[in-house]
Point group: C2
DNA sequence: GTTACTGCAAACCGTTTGCACTAGA
DNA sequence: TCTAGTGCAAACGGTTTGCAGTAAC
């Protein structure tokens, strides 16, 4: 099969190959879906549906396995939206968090992360070695503000 | 049945009754388990097991329904530990977050919450109405620090 | 040609639900 | 008495797993 790569995919696909993983059509499909939705976390079901238009018949299990792999390789990252199913987004390099509308589910990206300060404080007051964190804000988006 | 109440339970149980809910033996059992583990979030399975010693034969479904009710009434709160199952703790009145050991699962409570500052910043830069948030830190507890 | 990867279907498991029975007030 | 609450067992739904077939290289 001839592989036509999107510009941005090159780096991630090269990373796959250099670590001994095969570049397959399902993996490309999932990667492209994530790339095209940068900044917008997608549910596994959405990723499966969108990837199906690129690789017909892609199995849901493959989508799960691919996303797991992409997270391990830091190609993708889990978004902690506290919805029914897991959400993923491409790892754009910038560490960030999300603002989630509890009414319609719309997600806004928060540019900055202040948790580094919290981690610093914890380093002084606790014997824990902090390695990661998660944070999300919840509320109402402009069109869902009650009485707004 | 004669109800022997623990001192701290009085307020929460009164709150139940005043809102039209019945004070039952399973609800007391769950409440007491939460009270006795203040500051230590428990899984539904743990709560079920511990409550069973107080009300033999308590059903898991009842535990789930009771915890759901307690959260609605702000008697209890969900802890977002990102483990396999949900965790709950008594609402001690102080808003706080957790430090979770990714190795052994030990949980430490963080006294302060700095997210209010983040919410303030969001208020200036976004049209979202922020109503809540969740945050957890992950890492290694003293006995699990790699190479430590 | 090897074997990593895939699709399928079944299993898994935490949580929810329907229902007949029980017990709180 | 009346009905909210309960225990049980089945259903639910997102995720994982086993396996035989397929495709990457």
């Amino acid at each position: 099969m001839i592989m036509i790569l999107k510009k941005n995919d090159a780096g991630h696909l090269a990373g796959l190959r250099s670590r001994g993983y095969r570049i397959t059509s399902p993996r490309q499909a999932v990667l492209e879906v994530l790339e095209e939705n940068e900044g917008r976390p997608l549910s596994t079901e959405e990723i499966h549906r969108l990837a199906s238009t690129r690789h017909e018949g892609i199995g849901l299990a493959t989508v799960y396995r691919t996303l797991e792999l992409f997270c391990e390789l830091q190609i993708a990252a889990r978004a902690h939206l506290h919805r029914d199913s897991e959400h993923f987004e491409i790892n754009s390099g910038s560490h960030h968090h999300h603002l989630v509308c509890v009414s319609c589910g719309e997600v806004e990206m928060l540019e900055e992360c202040v948790i580094e300060e919290v981690e610093k404080a914890v380093r002084d007051r606790s014997d824990f070695l902090v390695t990661s964190h998660c944070m999300s804000l919840f509320g109402y988006c402009p069109s869902c503000i009650p009485g707004g």
